[in-house]
């Protein structure tokens, strides 16, 4: 294989660790270098993992559920086994044919028309957060911790029917599961886990009268005359909490990080509001937060490289989004890009179930921020910290507010 080195990193073609700070800091450059020199990389980290970076290879894997199982979607040295076809968090961890039924149960609640009805609530949440943020005398705020991270937590909590004050606990659970998989094993109190939290909550809900929220819906749902199995409900709730929060937080934070450094793009959003939907898609392309994973179901190949049954394969959708074979001016952020077939939400049967919700939250979060804070910059570039692992976004993002505007003025 070819040696691929960024200024400070390891040999990315053979020694990458997608959960390391070095990878998190330089991911887009790493993908570009690998795509040009070693488009299907392999590392022994986490028990061995493949990293394709071409759009064509990533698309082929995402569409090939015969050779690539979703039994495991977060690379971990503890590889799931014997859980197919449901997996531990249906439908994201499910394979056909079970997958289609598990997904169909949830699709109506996440369709574009159902999600549109959440816009007013999401806007109110953003305005409330901005009111708190813009206390008199404040000039530097952390846009990741004080703004972006609260939005998806509150929206998904309301949708599921969970108390919004539980948000801090969700974030801790998610951090353990996604950002540092494996690292916390054996060091946590059983009462302080997502498993315990959901078990307690479901027990309470079963004892209460039915409510009109997503948990109420799952508890009342029957398939072929049978209620859903406990582990199905449990896994789906875990998925909705885990998948909907870090990801959207990351997309909102990355978009504000970009705008803080690009005055012309801020100006364009202020003077030409019609560009917003295109800008949102370009944020999603350029800063796609999610890398998924698969486990090879059989001996197979990726881009000509032999992959053995049970090998982990990462699906870095953000790398696909920067492939010059698939996008014109792939390495440039083009705020009004007209042709944008980005794959931030994946491809194939596992297309992100929450994509309409994520788009709504990102749109509203950027729009409300720009209405109140049209001018801002990074307060300390060195203090920006990006998450590690399969969800990428700024976790610390100090922003200096240069100008505020009154809403409705």
């Amino acid at each position: 294989m070819t040696d691929v080195h960024t200024a400070t990193g390891p040999d990315w073609a053979t020694e990458f660790d997608h959960t390391s700070d070095a990878y998190a800091d330089a991911a887009p450059e790493v993908w570009d270098e690998l795509r040009a020199t070693c488009p299907v990389a392999h590392s022994d980290a986490h028990g061995g993992v493949w990293l394709p970076t071409r759009h064509a290879d990533i698309s082929a894997i995402a569409h090939d559920t015969e050779h690539f199982s979703s039994e495991g979607v977060i690379v971990n040295v503890f590889k799931p086994y014997g859980l197919a076809p449901m997996g531990y968090a249906p439908p994201i961890t499910s394979d056909p044919p079970f997958h289609a039924d598990a997904r169909r149960l949830l699709l109506p609640a996440f369709g574009p028309k159902a999600i549109a009805s959440l816009e007013d609530g999401a806007r109110a949440t953003c305005r409330e957060l901005l009111d708190e943020l813009l206390a008199p005398g404040t000039d530097v705020v952390d846009a990741a911790r004080e703004y972006a991270q609260h939005i998806p937590v509150r929206v998904i909590a309301a949708m599921l029917g969970l108390p919004k004050e539980d948000g801090d606990r969700f974030r801790l659970f998610i951090h353990r599961i996604i950002e540092k998989p494996g690292e916390y094993v054996g060091t946590i109190e059983p009462e302080d886990t997502l498993v315990h939290y959901l078990t307690q909550h479901l027990r309470r809900r079963r004892a209460e009268p039915p409510q009109d929220d997503l948990i109420g819906y799952l508890l009342a749902t029957e398939v072929d005359g049978e209620p859903l199995r406990d582990e199905h409900i449990f896994g789906t709730l875990a998925l909705l909490i885990i998948a909907g929060i870090d990801t959207t937080w990351s997309a909102i934070g990355a978009s504000l990080w970009h705008l803080a450094q690009h005055p012309a793009d801020r100006e364009r959003l202020v003077t030409d509001p019609d560009v917003l939907p295109f800008a949102i898609e370009e944020f999603l392309r350029f800063y796609a937060p999610v890398t998924m994973a698969r486990i090879a179901a059989t001996d197979t190949e990726v881009g000509g490289c032999p992959v053995a049954e049970r090998d982990w394969v990462l699906l870095p959708f953000p790398a696909a989004n920067r492939d010059p074979e698939a996008f014109e001016r792939a390495d440039e952020f083009v705020i009004d890009r007209q042709r944008n077939r980005h794959v931030a939400f994946g491809l194939g049967i596992h297309r992100c179930l929450g994509s309409n919700l994520a788009r709504l939250e990102l749109t509203v979060a950027v729009d409300e921020w720009m209405r109140r804070i049209p001018d801002f910059e990074l307060a300390d570039e060195a203090a920006v910290r990006w998450s590690t692992g399969q969800v990428r976004g700024p976790r610390e993002l100090p922003i200096r507010i240069l100008r505020t505007a009154e809403v409705g003025a």
Partner: protein
């Protein structure tokens, strides 16, 4: 220009419905429904720009707009 939708490829990304709501609807599960059904998918001239935009933004390459 004619438009075709390959429903086998559609995964419900919802881009066409967002960009060309007079040409696409969605079903209850979020999958695309083509509203231009008559005359082999023939588009009126005022629909062509929106139809092309929808096709150019479909991640699954499920929409084709061609003479």
């Amino acid at each position: 220009m004619r438009i075709t939708l390959d429903s086998e490829k559609c995964q419900g990304h919802g881009r066409c419905y967002a960009l060309a709501p007079t040409i696409f609807d969605t079903d209850d599960e979020g999958y695309a429904v083509l509203l231009v059904t008559g005359d082999g998918g023939e588009l009126s001239p005022d629909q062509e720009a929106a139809a092309t935009l929808a096709a150019d933004n479909c991640p699954e390459y499920a929409i084709e707009v061609a003479p």
